[in-house]
Amino acid sequence: MQLRSLTVCAIIAFAAGLIVASFAGFREFLPGLLQGALITVEITLGGCVLSVIAAVIAALAKMYGPWPIRWLAVVYIEIFRGTSALVQLFWLFFVLPRFGLTMEPLTVAILALGLNVGAYGAEVVRGAVAAVPRGQWEATIALNMNRAQALRRIILPQAVVAMIPPWGNLFIELLKATAIVSLITVADLAFRAQEMNATTYRTVEIFSIVLVIYLAMAMLITIGMRRLEGLAAKGLARGRSH
């Protein structure tokens, strides 16, 4: 039910945006902005994948690693949570080349945002793993599984369900944070908007369209995560031990 209303909202918002755009002669801006939106989507997808990988590794390292690994994970999480994403982006883009490591702006963008959100995600993963009932761990010990087998086959599949809603929030945060990559010359949606605004001064039109595009993308993430949650919960509920 909620999913349906969200879908309707998304469609209406997007349609309204398009109608407004075409009626007011916004059509000239739309192709350029959509090109930028494509880059935004690319960064968001890459960042999401990276953030999940970073979060799972950091969380497991922090929970079960030997002390040097655990220490590394804590340092990663604290640094990326404790400093601004903008500073991290600039550091990777402007400081790393001083040490001889230069990367494409798009790579830096994905890396910075993925690692930033991954640091928050690590706590989500940790919480979800810790919330799996202790009896499940005990069963794996009684069946002589080692910790890696227990995590991979028994604990993580159950923890994933609890992780999905908070991850939805993090993905939307990541999407919105992509706007800062325009500051390192990546031609994303925000970059295109500023560029057009600087030459045409049609601020109202341009930023209204941009607003609608961001909203539509965020809605898509919400809908996708709801669906994923439904699927995962169904899979587990079928098997939920009472």
Partner: protein, 272 residues
């Protein structure tokens, strides 16, 4: 029997050793002593029922044996080898992961709350550990799981998830899952306590069947006095972290010597 109980670090297993031996095993949480220098031998193939009031340490005995709880003193021997320690240069040192895994392989446990894997079917629950731990092929572990589920009377529930099964059925899957690892010692921790009364019988029947058909050493913590009386070779009454009285069921239930035992049995009988 060699007198290993007196030495601080016995270097050799006692000759003609029992399947399970608790040798002055102590367990405490802070200042609270759960088990106080427990001495208990269980022979191979013997079926021992552990009864006693709550807080008497009876579940802890099983949990220590499954290595779910560390012990604070003494040595647990299983099949002639120390459980959580190993011999190195004639002394006992804490066991490494390999030794622990080898020892755990001899023991299976069934829990009060089943602890089935909710995201797997009954069959998958039984196949998982044989596949990942024993390295059996999918076909081999499936055949083994299927056979055991048939044995516990669930041949028609192979593809059911735990939530689609009754408590009694879930517990029978849990028994099959533990047996799939081919343990020598089976531990049953109040396996009928979480069940509706009408489902208790089906689980006890399966345990009876195991006792009759398989050569297993069994330790069970139970509140089913009738079952303990009929099934066990020996009953141990725990009180205050010690074995207060033990003996054949007929003797312990028929003419208990200890006043605590009498009190406990009277209270239990009144309740039922």
């Amino acid at each position: 029997m060699t007198d290993i109980a007196k030495g601080p670090a016995p270097a050799a297993a006692p000759t003609g050793s029992p399947m399970v031996r608790f040798d002055q095993v102590t367990k405490s949480y802070g200042a609270f002593v759960v088990l106080d220098q427990l001495e208990l031998d269980v022979a191979a193939g013997e079926k021992v029922a552990i009864i006693g009031p709550s807080g008497s340490g009876k579940t802890t005995v099983l949990r220590m044996l499954m290595t779910l709880e560390p012990i604070n003193g003494g040595v647990i021997w299983v099949d002639g080898e120390p459980l959580t320690s190993m011999r190195r240069n004639g002394a006992l040192v804490p066991a490494d992961a390999r030794h622990l895994r080898r020892m755990r392989g001899k023991i299976g446990m069934v829990f009060q709350h089943f602890n089935l894997f909710p995201h797997m079917t009954a069959l998958k629950n039984c196949m998982e550990a044989p596949c990942t731990v024993l390295g059996l092929s999918k076909a081999e572990s499936e055949a083994r799981g299927r056979e055991l589920l048939v044995m516990v009377g669930l041949g028609d529930k192979l593809q059911h998830y735990p939530a689609q099964l009754s408590g009694g059925q879930q517990q029978r899957v849990a028994i099959a899952r533990a047996l799939a690892m081919r343990p020598k010692v089976m531990l049953f921790d109040e396996v009928t306590s979480a069940l509706d009364p009408e489902l208790v019988g089906e689980v006890l029947n399966v345990i009876r069947k195991l006792g009759a058909e398989l050569d297993l050493t069994m330790l069970m913590v139970t509140h089913q006095m009738g079952f303990a009386k009929e099934f066990a070779d020996r009953v141990c009454f725990f009180y205050g972290g010690k074995i207060c009285e033990q003996g054949p069921p007929a003797k312990l239930f028929g003419s208990p010597e200890n006043e605590r035992t009498r009190q406990f049995l009277r209270a239990v009988l009144e309740a039922t």
